[in-house]
């Protein structure tokens, strides 16, 4: 789960990382209300759009305000505006820091060494966007032995390499970040920039990605963050996304018109590739996973077909864990209770395929055995063929 800046700062702050005084406002009316007592806002301050993606600074999502009136006008302007295609729903107002130096600091995991990875660079700020690109001079990484944590010498060494004078404060901060990373099952904790200010180190941005797999250990936190995000970033969602969320279906909307459902991630990607390279345009990526049952198929169909752009629905199934009899039942159940406009193309093979095909044949539905043929037919139908 990717958090928004203000959520990341709350998390970091709770673990002792210095973060600026700040206040979040989620609507113009609330902004006006708060502004009546302008002492509620830390001024002079930064006004920052809370959006779930990077690069907002260059897109105009960050501005400054010295006075309450400036704040009111800048923040009002920002709320509701469009930033890279997304409506800004909330802004963070935070105390402006005097920046002497900007550093990049992150903890993530390294698939190669199966260990947490501490990363830091002398160059922080807006030009350092993706951790994957950080590979140059002045950038430092260290694998962390989880049985040991971050050894004191490593904190001192990083401080020296980064030119940080107060090595003790930096060490404490690294300890806080690492502790949060571990305790909260984060996949990434990124502070960029970590500012050196006359008052010490301060996290001016915060990007935290929590491991969805570990939600069972952090139920309350996940619920709270999700609840907050409803107000912070979510506009009116499309019906398919809303349904997908409700049903827990893995659904990624795309721009085309070929609705896609698959029972594997790899074959889902393959299907997108073959559609695209065959001249079609997928409307979504929807993968049911190996543990899908009849209900999963029915719900996935409901999700994908809620997108009005879908001109043909392509279901590609190749059962390993999934059982074709269950899949067929799910399709049958959905069709029994719903009128389906777009034509259906179904590819079915694998575990219990004989039973599955029999069920669909009973409904008069033919299935394809070959993946390319099925995809080809779907693309053809999407072009009105």
């Amino acid at each position: 789960m990717k958090t928004v800046e203000c959520q990341g700062k709350d998390l970091l702050g709770a673990y002792g990382v210095p973060v600026p005084d700040r206040k979040v406002v989620t609507s113009k009316s609330l902004l006006g209300l708060c502004a009546e007592d302008c002492s509620q806002f830390p001024l002079p301050g930064m006004v920052k759009a809370q959006v779930p993606f990077g690069g907002r600074g260059k897109a105009g999502g960050i501005t400054e305000a010295d006075t309450p009136s400036e704040l009111l006008s800048r923040a009002s302007e920002m709320i509701g505006s469009d930033l890279k295609g997304t409506e800004v729903r909330s802004v963070l107002v935070e105390k402006r820091a005097e920046i002497l130096d900007e550093i990049y600091l992150a903890v993530t995991f390294d698939a190669g060494s199966r260990a947490p990875l501490l990363m830091a660079g002398k160059e922080g700020g807006v030009d350092v966007e993706s951790s994957a690109r950080l590979r140059g001079e002045g950038f430092h990484t260290a694998r962390i032995d989880t049985a040991l944590g971050v050894p004191p010498y490593l904190k001192r060494l990083f401080a020296k390499k980064l030119g940080i004078v107060d090595a003790a404060a930096f060490g404490d901060l690294v300890e806080s970040v690492y502790t949060m990373y571990r305790k909260k099952d984060a996949l990434l904790v990124e502070i960029n920039p970590l500012a050196v200010t006359p008052d010490g180190l301060m996290a001016l941005d915060a990007k935290v990605d929590l491991d969805d797999g570990a939600e069972f250990r952090h139920r309350e936190l996940f619920e709270r963050l999700r609840e907050e995000q409803k107000h912070l970033i979510e506009g009116e969602k499309g019906e398919p996304q809303r349904l997908a969320k409700e049903y827990g279906v893995d659904y990624v909307p795309l721009d085309g018109d070929v609705g896609v459902i698959s029972d594997g991630a790899g074959t889902g990607m393959l299907t997108l590739d073959v559609i695209t390279e065959g001249g079609g345009a997928p409307a979504d990526f929807c993968e049911m996973g190996g543990e899908a049952d009849a209900r999963t198929v029915a719900r996935s169909m409901e999700v994908v077909l809620a997108n009005p752009d879908v001109s043909v629905l392509l279901i590609t199934l190749i059962g390993g864990l999934t059982r074709m009899d269950h899949m067929a039942e799910g399709i049958a159940n959905y069709l029994e209770e719903n009128e389906v406009g777009p034509p259906l193309v179904i590819r079915m093979c694998g575990t219990k395929e004989v039973e599955g095909k029999r069920i669909l044949e009973g409904l008069g539905i033919d299935t394809y055995d070959d993946h390319s043929e099925a995809v080809g037919r779907a693309v053809e139908l999407s072009r009105g063929g």
């Binding site: 993706s130 994957a132 698959s262 997928p282 070959d370």
Partner: protein, 289 residues
């Protein structure tokens, strides 16, 4: 011959009394897998498909010779099941659970390394040595015994490839799914090495995906060490950046993990590239003459 799994490999199933565990155990048995014991806490003393069930792995290994364990347990119990199997001395562990926390997998993989155990997965369909044994969920009907080694992150994609190969009359030595990531026990390089050393594997199919840099490392290995021909497909070529497609590891971030780059390095390393399972099978067919 085959890698990792032969007809003699004796198998323990963790979570054997669950819905998936009991179904898949029956399917494995039917295929010929030598399942000798199962474990479900609290169900010790029962039987499933004629297989004795124990409360603990250590109890099972006290009574049976066990070469490999496969777990069908919910992801929140995957760490504990793996640790238990490793601590009981089992050297090959297959983890099928999807969405196992990264922190848990780091713990399992480090512990396994310290104890000399090999982990396949998590989020893996397992593996099949056609005609001999299967350890996981690969649908056997699409496979045939032969000399092509198949290796994939994704289960279903490897089924597609096997289907295409088999329909062309080309059998497989072993088909290995390493799982969806973002952390892997066995990597592509680990499996490539085994295929390279296996005298009965003649050609290898490597199915890659967007995300991470595993295919880059595989390309290095292919370039530097491999003598056998490799045919590769990389899916997610049309994947939009920043969106996770099904697998935790399948995400293009910034410029990293793009399919095009992976195809480039694999191709430069000498791998032949196919765009669909059908194309892959055609290339394999040509390579085998």
């Amino acid at each position: 011959m085959s890698i990792l799994l032969s007809g003699e490999t004796s198998v323990l199933v963790q979570g054997i009394t669950g819905n998936i565990g009991s179904f898949q155990t029956a399917v494995m048995q039917e295929y010929g897998t030598n399942v000798v014991a199962g474990v479900t806490p609290g169900k010790g003393g029962e039987e499933t498909s004629g297989i004795p069930v124990y409360d603990f792995v250590s109890e099972a290994v006290g009574r049976h010779e066990v070469d490999a364990a496969i777990s069908y347990v919910p992801s929140k119990f995957a760490r504990d099941a793996a640790l238990e199997a490793i601590d009981a001395g089992i050297k090959f562990i297959v983890m099928t659970a999807e969405g196992v926390p990264v922190r848990d997998m780091m713990a399992v993989l480090n512990h396994a390394e310290g104890r000399g155990a090999t982990v396949l997965g998590p989020d893996t369909p397992g593996l099949i040595s056609p005609g001999k044994s299967k350890l996981g969920v690969h649908p056997d009907r699409m496979t045939a015994e032969g000399d092509v080694g198949v290796l994939s992150r994704s289960g279903a994609l490897s089924y597609e490839i096997c289907k295409s190969l088999t329909e062309k009359g080309i059998g497989q030595s072993t088909v290995v799914g390493i799982g969806g990531g973002p952390l892997w026990g066995m990597t592509q390089v680990d499996v490539l090495k085994l295929f390279e050393e296996d005298p009965e594997t003649k050609v290898i199919v490597l199915a890659g995906e967007v995300g991470g840099s595993m295919e880059q490392k595989a390309a290095e290995y292919i370039d530097g060490e491999m003598t056998k021909p490799v045919v590769s497909i990389v899916v997610g070529r049309s994947a939009p950046a920043g969106k996770r497609l099904g697998h935790a590891g399948a995400i293009v971030e910034g410029n990293a993990g793009r399919a095009a780059d992976k195809i480039d390095v694999l191709s430069s390393a000498g791998a032949k590239i196919g765009r669909s399972p059908g194309e892959v099978a055609k290339i394999v067919d040509q390579l085998r003459g």
